[in-house]
């Protein structure tokens, strides 16, 4: 009975619905796995916003829900970039904040009191579940095999390349953008396949959403035209392509222009010109196709060549003219650095200094993608075999994304989806071939044999392909299963160890094995928040700007939105110069407190002294005469902080602030910097214009108060010397006979 009922379940129309139900269940499970594998940090630490940028997004979201959408749109933030301020509403991608704002308001409507912080923390895992579903849809468009989509969804759900940017608490634009990217591509493929305006319009809609969410939308803006362009070059023009592209371009461009930060970029920026160009091209091609139906071949050829020459000439000339006259913005530095990895280091140190802009190391590919990375070429190869329109898309995407991922660590994120698609295609075809239980029947072979033998050569006979041996089946399937299990183990391990640290909170282990939380950042930020005036200006290196804004709620000079290189260089100069130079800078910028991060006591390597050279370099970029990188290296070219350190180093504000009073924690002469592994000079550096205001428990964050001008009009160094040397000086003075003092 059981097998027959199973047959009923699996075959025919009820079989179809059973499979559908199974598929839904599997997809839900994958989504749940995707969400739950991102919760390590919530379980280990707490529901907290991670890293740096998310703190700004979080702060902006709070501003949005407190002040409403319109004031968010018009938000001028005078608490950052003091004294310049920032037109925040016009210089951010609002998609992320609006998404969480909408979720928040829906929940409020249902009177479910959820803290906005929890929405922000869990937004990325939630959307990763959706990404897995979108990935299923996209891959199912590429392959007839039902397993490919499910495999791709599972890969996308847990691959570390995507998890790295979407763990709970990593409330960044990428959190929703990857879902939008994948889903937009799915809709695009759907549109190209069906040639339907509706799918094209939907593509444009999600493209608009994507534009509002992430600067990486440019990837879509260029990839879709490239896809169309390649299709045209392959002579695959069809009405489907025309309809879907024109619909997408017209609606999508209009949609993207609604975002103030993007504004007129789609028609003025070089990054967007390919979309416009292909839009023009496809009109011409369509026109040519139309003409061809009416004209005989020869005249058509002539017309076509002249038309192509004319268009190319006109287009190129126009582009040059517009670029020179400045109507079209020249290519941005970030764009150049995509092609020349050395470019940024020479010309724009601020971009090169960002760790996520560094070129990718080879092991990173394996680390982030595990066995997908070697299935990826196989999958791309299989796309070449079929090479329908959608497979062309996969090939182009794969080539472009591989290149970009090699240039910048951060762009590993855009590579991940296509790796998942390609790997799933490859793996599903392996599984489909080797998992089919029945061997090709010999009877069908026998039937074919006589007819074939007579009429044709052996090689042209239709070969009977199949896996006969149960052994080979089991070996292949078994090894695939082993790989899959290893993949899951690897993903879990990477997620748990590499990507789940909030970086605001550090964890370490006590000798007895219990967890010890190092919470110095929040200690210092909360101290600032509670015990300083509401408008006390904090100067810190730009890395900490967003965190200070979010956690300490105090105005900052520079932050992670590095829009003003000069302002950052000013801070760099103040940090790397002598006190006499820095103090006027601090006064001019109304700085009340200076914050430095110092890891010497604990061995926390991400501290400011290790980032110091970037400050010097960025300052040198603006003031080459006043700040010189060479001065901070010893004669032998070493970067030292001990007794041998160069005078420029020892006198710099950063050095002084880092080591101020540090020596008094140790027995004389034994102060050790555990990050740089060197002994620190015996004498504590003398600070004249600043005084220590607060130091966190493990000395990671040190806060200094900028002294006011001296009451007696002295300069600070003599005032401090006077206070210190008061007795000695008097002793030398009072040599003559004592006089009775009369009032």
């Amino acid at each position: 009975m059981a097998p027959s009922s199973l047959n009923v379940m699996l075959k025919g129309s009820s079989g179809r619905s059973t499979r559908g139900l199974l598929r839904v269940i599997i997809l839900c499970t994958i989504a749940a796995a995707a969400v739950s594998s991102r919760l390590f940090s919530v379980i280990r630490f707490e529901s907290i916003i991670h890293e740096f940028d998310p703190w700004f997004n979080f702060r902006a979201t709070k501003y949005l829900i407190e002040n409403g959408f319109y004031s968010f749109w018009d938000w001028f933030d005078d608490r950052t970039w003091h004294p310049l301020g920032r037109v925040t509403g016009g210089t951010l991608y609002p998609g992320l904040m609006v998404t969480s704002g909408v979720i928040y308001h829906i929940l409020r409507l249902l009177t479910i009191p959820v803290d906005i912080r929890n929405i922000c923390v869990l937004l990325a895992p939630g959307f990763s579940g959706l990404t897995a579903l979108a990935m299923y849809l996209l891959t199912s468009e590429m392959s007839t095999s039902p397993s490919a989509g499910l495999l791709a969804a599972a890969f996308m759900g847990i691959t570390p390349g995507y998890i790295s940017r979407s763990v709970a608490g990593s409330y960044d634009n990428e959190a929703i953008a990857i879902f939008l990217l994948v889903f937009t591509f799915y809709l695009w493929i759907k549109a190209v396949k069906n040639g339907s305006i509706m799918w094209g319009a939907l593509t444009a809609l999600f493209y608009g959403y994507m534009v509002s969410a992430w600067g990486g939308y440019v990837f879509i803006t260029n990839l879709i035209p490239l896809h169309v362009f390649v299709l045209l070059c392959m002579g695959r023009y069809s009405n489907r392509v025309y309809i879907s592209y024109t619909t997408w371009y017209a609606l999508g461009t209009l949609g993207s222009m609604q975002i103030p930060f993007v504004g007129f970029l789609p028609i003025r920026n070089s990054d967007h010109m390919s979309a416009l160009g292909v839009f023009g091209l496809i009109q011409l091609v369509a026109f040519a196709e139309f003409i061809r139906t009416y004209l005989p071949g020869k005249e058509f050829q002539k017309l076509l060549t002249s038309m192509i020459l004319l268009t190319v000439g006109l287009g190129f000339g126009g582009l040059v003219l517009l670029s020179v006259s400045g109507v079209i913005a020249p290519w941005s530095g970030r764009f150049y650095s995509l092609w020349d990895t050395g470019y940024a280091k020479i010309h724009i140190p601020i971009i090169a200094s960002v760790s996520e802009h560094q070129p990718t190391a080879w092991p990173a590919f394996f680390f982030d993608l595990n066995f997908l990375i070697w299935l990826f070429p196989a999958g791309v190869f299989m796309c070449f075999q079929k090479l329908k329109d959608e497979h062309v898309f996969v090939v182009i995407y794969a080539v472009l994304a591989s290149y970009f991922a090699g240039v910048m660590v951060r762009l590993m994120l855009t590579l991940t989806p296509i790796v998942c698609v390609a790997a799933a295609l490859a793996l599903s075809s392996i599984l489909d071939s080797f998992l089919v239980a029945s061997t090709p029947s010999s009877s069908s072979e026998a039937k074919e044999k006589p007819t074939a033998e007579d009429k044709s050569l052996r090689s042209t006979r239709k070969p009977v392909v199949g896996i006969y041996s149960f052994f080979s089946k089991s070996v292949v399937v078994g090894s695939v299963i082993v790989y899959l299990l290893l993949f899951v183990a690897h993903c879990t391990w990477v997620t748990s160890n590499a990507y789940s640290s909030p970086s605001v909170v550090l964890a370490s282990k006590l000798p007895d094995g219990s967890q010890y939380i190092i919470d110095d950042y929040r200690e210092a930020y909360y101290w600032l928040r509670q015990n300083t005036p509401d408008n006390a200006k904090i100067m810190a290196w730009w890395d900490y700007g967003y965190q200070i804004g979010g956690m300490a709620d105090r105005p900052t000079l520079v932050d992670n939105n590095t829009w003003n290189n000069t302002h950052i260089a000013t801070v760099g100069k103040a940090m790397s110069s002598r006190e006499e130079v820095s103090y006027p800078i601090l006064r001019q910028h109304d700085v009340d407190y200076v914050l430095v991060v110092f890891g010497g006591l604990l061995g926390y390597s991400g501290d400011d002294l290790n980032k110091f050279l970037w400050m010097v370099r960025i300052a040198e970029g603006i003031w080459p005469d006043e700040v010189k990188e060479r001065d901070f290296f010893t004669a032998r070219g070493e970067y030292r902080v001990d007794e041998e350190a160069t005078p420029a180093m020892k006198n710099s504000l950063m050095y002084k602030m880092s080591y101020h009073n540090f020596q008094s924690l140790f027995p004389p002469g034994q102060a050790m910097d555990r990050v740089r592994g060197t002994k620190v000079p015996k004498e504590s550096p003398q600070l004249n214009t600043l005084e220590e205001a607060f130091t966190s428990e493990n000395w990671i964050v040190r806060l200094y108060k900028v002294k006011d001008l001296d009451n007696l009009g002295r300069d600070h160094s003599s005032a401090v010397a006077f206070d210190k040397g008061l007795k000695r000086k008097r002793a030398t003075k009072h040599k003559g006979p004592r006089v009775l003092r009369t009032e």
Binding site: F45, P113, A524, Y525, W527, Q530, E691
Partner: protein, 565 residues
């Protein structure tokens, strides 16, 4: 002139209302509830502005009107079920008012305890009626600037403390003298020539000031306290003395008096100093003789500017959730220089006494679970919880993110859950809907140096549909540290969370000036909550989901295709 409020007591009869009364109740409830706005509730770091809370209109004419009707039960259960909820008012006194000289203090002993970071005073006074009429209003004056900082003012008959506290009214300041009075209503008028011994106890907040006001990080802190050797009384006092109890024998400065009494004044015995006894029969009431003492107190002066305390009752969950939000400040000497981590490391290593708040110990009721300690930017990882074992209280050891030195602030939030069954009882009777909730009015950290609260807002969030809400504080033989019920602001609000339709009935109680003497004060809240009220939410959710499904089905049925059929 005199305002008196019905102070409804708990009794069975009020719980079982008749049919007619029920009807009347529901009408008045619906009428009243329509006016209740719901405060914007945010979960998360927040400051609720209490100014925006609509106040119940519990004005005098209303009450009088009802009492004229003499409906008995209804008086206490009308007004949207707000019964004994009071808005304290202060009596206006005419300009130039002086309490009638109808009493005489035969003997007055004032015990001033300075062991904590606020002043605790207990005055035992023998009062004699010198008028020829029986009198029952005894006035206790305070300067207007001190009056608002008096916490937990309570008066009892010293000979019979178990008779409970006397009814006390507060007055507005008298413009001419600048005095503000507590009016003690003796339960029975005092016959001419007869005597009664009153025990007046209260605490004074922020009466101690550090001197010097700024010290370096490892200096010892000294506090000063100034008072008058003659107790400021409204009446002539025959003899009086003041006993001061210091936290330690180190008293660096104190005023010595001349000619007030024979022998040395004060008399010193260890940490106890006694000023007096003085013979003051000839001294006019209100005469001052200033005395200042300065003593070592190397402990923090913990002041809570505002404490918001929420007690959320969930019948379905069987849970009592408590959340407290503190805005804390240390009023000790401020740091002369800035904070030095090196010095603090050494201080901590030696466990040396300090005027900084290093840790707050917070005993929790046995059975408390899931405690949390967070502030505006997340979990404070430096806390520890020692769960209760058996009947012993659990301990929450709260360590602020940074040591809170003098002049520094620290605001935070803690919360935990309890089994509701150990706090809630259902009134006897088969179909009784009446519930009795007995919960602590104030908990708060238990510190040797004491904690003073400038303002405490307690919200008891009752289940949706709870009505007929009444509350009272539990009195014992000794003072519970709370002021009289008539000086607690009480009102009803409604609050919408977790898919509420009507909003939860919320009893909000506010007290200005309180100390941790009131730590163990309990209060009893009674309310009616029927089965129908409890089933409202499941029905609402069911109906909502049903609507959703029907709508989805209906939309799915609509054919919008433009194909030819």
């Amino acid at each position: 002139m005199q305002v008196k409020y019905k102070n409804a007591r708990l009794s069975k009869s009020k719980v079982t209302a008749t049919q007619d009364e029920e009807k009347l109740l529901s009408i008045s409830r619906s009428a009243q509830c329509g006016r209740l706005g719901h405060p914007s509730i945010q979960w998360g770091p927040r400051i609720i502005s209490y100014a925006s809370f609509p106040k119940l209109d519990l004005t005098l004419p209303h009450l009088e009107f009802l009492s004229i009707l003499n409906l008995g039960e209804i008086v206490s259960s009308s007004l949207c079920a707000a019964t004994n909820l009071t808005t304290p008012s202060r009596l206006d006194l005419p300009s130039g008012f002086k309490p009638p000289q109808v009493f005489k203090n035969t003997n007055l002993v004032r015990n001033t305890n300075l062991e904590k970071s606020y002043v605790r005073e207990t005055i035992n006074v023998v009062v004699e009626n010198v008028d020829n009429q029986p009198q029952n209003e005894y006035y206790v004056p305070f300067p207007a600037e001190v009056f608002d900082r008096i916490a937990g003012f309570e008066v009892r008959d010293k000979k019979a403390p178990n008779k409970g506290r006397f009814h006390v009214d507060a007055t507005e300041a008298v413009p001419t003298s600048g005095n503000q009075y507590f009016v003690i209503h003796l339960p029975e008028p005092l016959e001419p020539k007869s005597q009664i011994t009153l025990r007046i106890s209260y605490q004074v907040l922020s009466a101690l000031s550090p001197l010097p006001a700024t010290i370096t990080q490892d200096d010892k802190q000294y506090l000063t306290y100034s008072f008058s050797a003659f107790m400021p009384s409204a009446y002539v006092t025959d003899t009086q003395k003041t006993k001061l109890k210091f936290p330690s024998a180190i008293v660096s400065d104190y005023t010595t008096t001349d000619g007030l009494k024979s022998g040395s004044d004060p008399e010193r015995m260890g940490a106890t100093y006694t000023y007096g006894p003085y013979d003051t029969a000839k001294v006019a009431p209100g005469t001052e003789h200033p005395i200042t003492v300065r003593y070592e107190f190397t402990k923090p002066v913990i002041t809570v500017n505002l404490l918001e305390r929420d007690l959320e009752v969930s019948h379905w969950g069987g849970n009592l959730a408590t959340e407290e939000r503190y805005w804390l400040r240390n009023n000790a000497s401020q740091l002369a220089n800035h904070f030095s981590r090196v010095k603090w490391t050494y201080t901590n290593f030696q466990k040396a006494p300090t005027s900084a708040v290093r840790e707050l110990t917070y005993p929790l009721v046995p059975g408390s679970v899931d405690p949390y300690f967070i502030d505006d930017i997340g979990n404070v990882s430096t806390s520890r919880y020692r769960p209760s074992v058996g009947k012993k209280a659990g301990h929450l050891e709260l360590k602020p993110r940074y040591p809170v030195f003098g002049g520094w602030n620290y605001s935070f939030r803690i919360g935990w859950n309890n089994e509701l069954s150990s706090f809630l009882r259902r009134a006897a009777g088969v179909n009784s809907d009446s519930h009795i909730l007995k919960v602590p009015f104030l908990e708060g950290p238990k510190m040797a140096e004491g904690v003073q609260y400038e303002r405490v807002v307690v919200r008891v969030i009752l289940p949706e549909g709870a009505h007929n809400v009444r509350f009272e504080t539990v009195e014992g033989i000794n003072s519970n540290g709370l002021p009289g019920a008539n000086s607690i602001y009480a009102r009803l609000n409604s609050m919408k969370t977790y898919m509420d339709t009507l909003g939860r009935t919320t009893l909000t109680l506010e007290v200005d000036s309180l100390t941790d003497e009131a730590r163990d004060a309990m209060m009893v809240v009674t309310y009616d909550h029927s089965m129908m009220d409890a089933l409202r939410k499941p029905f609402t959710i069911f109906a909502g989901l049903l609507t959703l499904f029907i709508a989805a089905w209906g939309i799915g049925k609509i054919d919008v295709s433009i194909k030819k059929r």
